[in-house]
């Protein structure tokens, strides 16, 4: 019997391979993120001071929405082609497999957002030190969002037109991340102490990492009944 | 009497709060009773229909 770690690595590898075969799934959230970030200056006006003010919040909201957009497909194709059944019935612990899938989701969706965010931040006139803080908050925040979103995706996997429902479930839960993420960047921009926010986001990510896979596994079993 | 109801100048705020609370509490209470009655009736109708078929 292959071990747990092997199963975890294999699951992540398979998901990454699948993303490579369908690069659109990877690019869509990224393009969405950039487009939402473009909407705000167009809607509000090109005033530099205002943009600097709203920059952290806008980037965070756009990242949150982009993550949410990508979550719907996390378990959907597995459900449709029967591979979810096979995963549920394998001799490996389901939380580990779910965690592997979540990690792949983060690598394909969350990490690119963290890498692209500086481009948006520069157009919002944020200084370099603030951009570093923003990347840190997004790094920690997107990990939690992937984990939290996986629970929502697992709960709504068999439901017809589950996309709107998924947002309804995950958005209120993700508000602490938005608050701490965006406000920490704003504090950094105002030259204030921002370490509390980073600690909170890190603690949240650790908590989500330990608890969320079990909720995801339970939800997957229920959804596939 | 009027003075009592006016609550300083805050009458409209205070009374709308209490009125709204009474309305909502009444609404849930009424809905709960109505749902129970409907459920009882539905079960009875279904059972009667099943008996009729027998």
């Amino acid at each position: 019997m292959p071990g747990m770690i092997t199963a975890f690595v294999a699951t992540t590898q398979r998901e990454l391979l699948l993303s490579l075969r369908r690069p659109g799934d990877m690019l869509n959230p990224l393009v969405f993120f950039l487009m939402v970030s473009t909407l705000f200056p167009l809607a509000i006006g090109p005033d530099n001071e205002t943009l600097k003010e709203i920059g952290p919040g806008v980037t965070w909201v756009a990242a949150l929405l982009a993550m949410l957009l990508s979550l719907n497909s996390l378990f959907m194709s597995d459900y449709e082609d029967g591979s979810l059944e096979q995963l549920l019935l394998s001799g490996q612990p389901l939380p580990v497999i779910g965690l592997g899938k979540t990690l792949a989701h983060w690598l394909v969706t969350g990490l690119p957002l963290v890498i692209v965010a500086p481009i948006v931040a520069v157009t919002y006139r944020l200084p370099n030190e603030v951009i570093v803080v923003m990347m840190m908050t997004l790094l920690l925040g997107t990990i939690s969002l992937s984990l939290l979103g996986a629970i929502g995706a697992a709960l709504t996997v068999g439901i017809h037109r589950g996309t709107a429902l998924l947002s309804l479930l995950v958005l209120p839960l993700s508000m602490p991340l938005l608050i701490f993420g965006a406000r920490t960047v704003a504090l950094a921009a105002g030259n204030e102490v921002y370490s509390a926010g980073i600690f909170f986001l890190a603690a949240y990510a650790v908590g989500a990492l330990t608890l969320a896979p079990f909720a995801t596994a339970a939800a997957l079993r229920i959804s596939n009944e | 009497m009027m003075e009592m109801l006016s609550m300083g100048e805050y009458g409209p705020y205070v009374w709308s709060c209490f009125g709204l609370t009474a309305f909502v509490v009444g609404l849930i209470e009424w809905r709960a009773r109505q749902r129970h009655k409907i459920m009882e009736r539905e079960i009875e109708i279904r059972l009667r229909a099943m008996e009729g078929r027998k």
């Binding site: 019997m1 699948l18 096979q86 001799g91 | -």
Partner: protein, 204 residues
């Protein structure tokens, strides 16, 4: 090791309807059980309940004398599932799919390539699944059964989408599995022609 599967008092409701109540069976090594019944009678549900995909209202399932609910994960590593859908990713090749599957349960000493050749997919094993015909996809799913080193096969309507040759192939494969001391539970509305006697459980 000679394994044994016992089930007693199985009862399942699906929403409004009672699908079955109080049914049971015992399955020893080398034996096969066919679940029979009209469409929608609940044979697929019974199979899913045995696999632990759905919760039974009542009843116990024992593997080697131990209730499976005590350690469901251990029981899951004792069987392999053959469902309506292949459970393979359409964007991956049969070979890639099979290699991933190898991580999920104990495997025989056979290379995925050889097994895919033995099910007649030597030319298609490097093509994405979506380019394979329905029958070829079923054969790929059979390769999963063959490579798994587990005693129990759970098969849900294994003959759909198969021509006569494919059907005979499934039966031959099953025969090999049973002579090796394996056991199988098959939900099907067709008669099985196997070299061993087939127990039948009819669900009304």
């Amino acid at each position: 090791m000679n394994h044994k599967l016992e089930a007693a008092d199985l009862t399942l409701f699906r929403g409004e309807r009672c699908l079955f109540a109080g049914i049971g069976f015992a399955l020893a090594h080398g034996a096969v059980l066919a679940l029979k019944g009209a469409n929608g009678s609940g044979k697929t549900s019974l199979l899913r309940a045995l696999a632990g995909l759905i919760d039974l209202e009542e009843g116990t399932i024992k593997w080697d004398g131990r209730p499976v609910l005590e350690d469901p994960q251990q029981f899951r590593s004792q069987f392999v599932w053959y469902g309506h859908r292949t459970g393979f990713k359409q964007d991956l090749t049969p070979l890639e799919n099979l290699k991933f599957d190898a991580m999920l349960r104990p495997q025989r000493d056979a290379s995925p390539r050889d097994v895919l050749c033995s099910v007649g997919l030597e030319k298609q094993m490097e093509l994405p699944m979506r380019q394979l015909s329905a029958g070829q996809q079923r054969r790929a799913a059979l390769a999963r059964m063959l490579i798994a080193d587990v005693p129990l096969w759970l098969m849900d309507e294994p003959f759909t989408n198969l021509d006569v040759a494919g059907r005979e192939f499934v039966e031959a494969t099953l025969g090999t599995h049973l002579t090796r001391g394996g056991m199988a539970i098959i939900a099907t509305h067709q008669a099985l022609s196997l070299s061993v006697p087939v127990d039948e459980l009819v669900i009304q």
